[in-house]
Assembly symmetry: C2
Homo-oligomer: 369 residues x 2
């Protein structure tokens, strides 16, 4: 099966569909857990599958530096390397270079930087990003872009121009979407005309999918939602739309309402490692004394392995004792919570009841905030 | 089902049998992974079950201090608390008090100590150990003993006398083996007459099982094997015999040959967290450069989830990247390796070929040492 997108239902601006990929189908809207270094931290692939994960994101920057994309290719590609036979998406490496590495030089050709691991010097260009992602072998790969702080117009303008030029070079370096579908990334910060300019340029390159880039990088939630209001409809309606790096349950709800189909975020696994879990009444830290003698699970209605087997009292004990199993169990629950949220939104879209679901979800989830 | 032991086959001094417990059967000889704080570190109960684990050990000292045996009892007992529905064994707490805590006072009544966690002051006596273990609710519980350095005769003599007196008090405090079977612990260091004296005293108390205590605490391997040569046959033949704290593959083989039925050890999970794995050719550290580009698993003949799914190259990558999944995957393999070793010895005992199996195993396993 090569890459394609079927739009199955709409409810207001929201959409439900299926992304077909060489490694299987992705029902949308979808949340992708993040496996930065070819592992969703502390979670076995089998358990990811059981949680209903249909897509995992891995980071090009990290895998390029360690163990190296050549090694991953030699071992049979990322799917085989990490034993995940469902769809994978890799990012371009750009965002991590700008946020993690020490930048030596940015020019129109690319970025020279030093590794955050060992200080070694490297250069990433649109062509190099394509080559690395081809070696990794993910089903969906991303164009190399420059993600600016979203509110400074002159900086955003330059980033849009550079992102457009780089997108064209990525398209040239990866002209065929048969085995790996290359997505373009819209930039433009909080400026509608720049988003429009970016989208128009990308649409001409005819990517099989598009991301709304440059959000969730420091702007307020109202700014993000307001930007999505106009930025999302600027993207081609018959292609999947991806909001990168977003995973808070309320943000997922607001973005699905506005027509986003795909998400990824480290949030569920990162907060799990600090003892924080999602519940329908908001987040709670399982380390809190209130959970010490609670026989019931995090969520009595949750089907995850953690909630099916363990009390809050046990989980608190694991966290307090510094036990590794706490990371695994809380990560499983948080991933399942987000995937279940996506499943519920998808069903609601088919039923035409997304706004009611979202209002009820947000009323309860945000009540304690 | 209450507690009982069936001896099914013998091969020289070695034995194969079944221990029946309220939570199911334990085929012997058996190796029990250690779940110190009510969790086998980094391993889900589901995976322990899949590895073929039929018995898990938890530590009374740790659970008494955190989260507290009263809390475990309140949540429904240790089986429910840690979601392990197969047999559990708890130790007496004595060994950990002597090795981990700051001892304030040892007298004939018991031990006063300070917690290694928060410095709080506690007292453990034979009666208190029974009460804690009754609250935890394991299928097999251990008498409170004093484990001396094995080679100083005068110290060992005093420890044997105290262990005998404490065993009698444990038996009095736990007279009924219906739901929890109380095992006695033989002491005597490397002195045959003291081992005999200890065994005779314990046999009169008619425990449903017996441990050879005070080994694997600093003596050499030849000393341990030589002690087992006479210490094991001193224990009643129709009761299970348990060698505490032993888990090296060669030690397991030597001890099974000498008539031991049960083992526990942190070794497989502890070395896994440092990157070391068992193979039939000895141990290897997966961090070593030799594994960097190896496509094959740790052991191509192993049925564990790790070997069925992951290359050495991937595992090395996880270890080098400090990924939590490394602990899980290497622990799974090491546990499965020991359990498979026990399964092979059990089969060989039924076939009368244990000596051949053991010689072949040791020749290969120790060749690289």
């Amino acid at each position: 099966m090569t890459f394609s997108f079927e739009l199955l239902a709409q409810d207001g601006g929201a959409r439900a569909g299926i992304i077909h990929t060489p490694h299987g189908d992705i029902p949308t809207p979808v949340f992708a857990p993040v496996g930065t270094a070819a592992t969703v931290k502390a979670v076995l692939p089998r358990d990811l599958r059981e949680m209903g994960a249909s897509l995992v994101l891995s980071n090009t920057y990290h895998l390029y530096l360690r163990p190296g994309d050549d090694l991953v290719r030699e071992i049979g590609g990322l799917h085989r390397f990490m034993a995940w036979d469902r769809p994978i998406l890799t990012d371009s490496g750009g965002f991590q270079v700008f946020s993690l590495a020490q930048i030596n030089k940015i020019d129109d050709d690319g970025v020279t930087f030093r590794s955050h691991i060992d200080g070694s010097k490297h250069r990433l260009t649109p062509e190099k990003s394509m080559q690395i992602q081809q070696n990794l072998g993910a089903d969906i790969i991303m164009a190399f872009d420059q993600c600016p702080p979203p509110t400074d117009r002159s900086i955003v303008e330059r980033a849009v121009a550079r992102t457009s030029a780089w997108a064209a070079r990525c398209r040239a370096a990866h002209p065929d979407d048969t085995t790996q579908a290359l997505f373009g990334i819209q930039q433009g910060g909080i400026f509608e005309d720049l988003r429009a300019q970016s989208s128009a340029f990308l649409a001409d390159l005819d990517f099989p999918g598009y991301a709304v880039g440059g959000l969730a990088v420091g702007e307020t939630k109202p700014q993000m939602y307001a930007t999505l209001d106009y930025a999302t409809p600027l993207l081609p309606a018959h292609k999947p739309r991806y909001l990168m790096g977003v995973g808070a349950p309320d943000d997922l709800a607001e973005a699905v309402l506005r027509g986003i189909d795909m998400f990824d975020c480290v949030l569920p696994t990162r907060i799990a490692r600090h003892g924080t879990v999602f519940t329908h009444d908001g987040t709670t830290n399982i380390r809190n004394a209130e959970h010490a003698r609670v026989e019931t699970p995090i969520d009595v209605t949750c089907s995850c392995y953690c909630c099916q087997n363990f009390s809050r009292a046990y989980l608190r004990h694991l966290v307090k004792a510094g036990e590794l199993l706490a990371h695994t169990l809380l990560s499983l629950h948080n991933i399942r919570f987000l995937i279940r949220h996506m499943e519920a939104m998808r069903s609601a879209i088919f039923e035409g009841s997304l706004r009611q679901y979202t209002e009820a979800f947000l009323r309860r989830y945000l009540a304690s905030a």
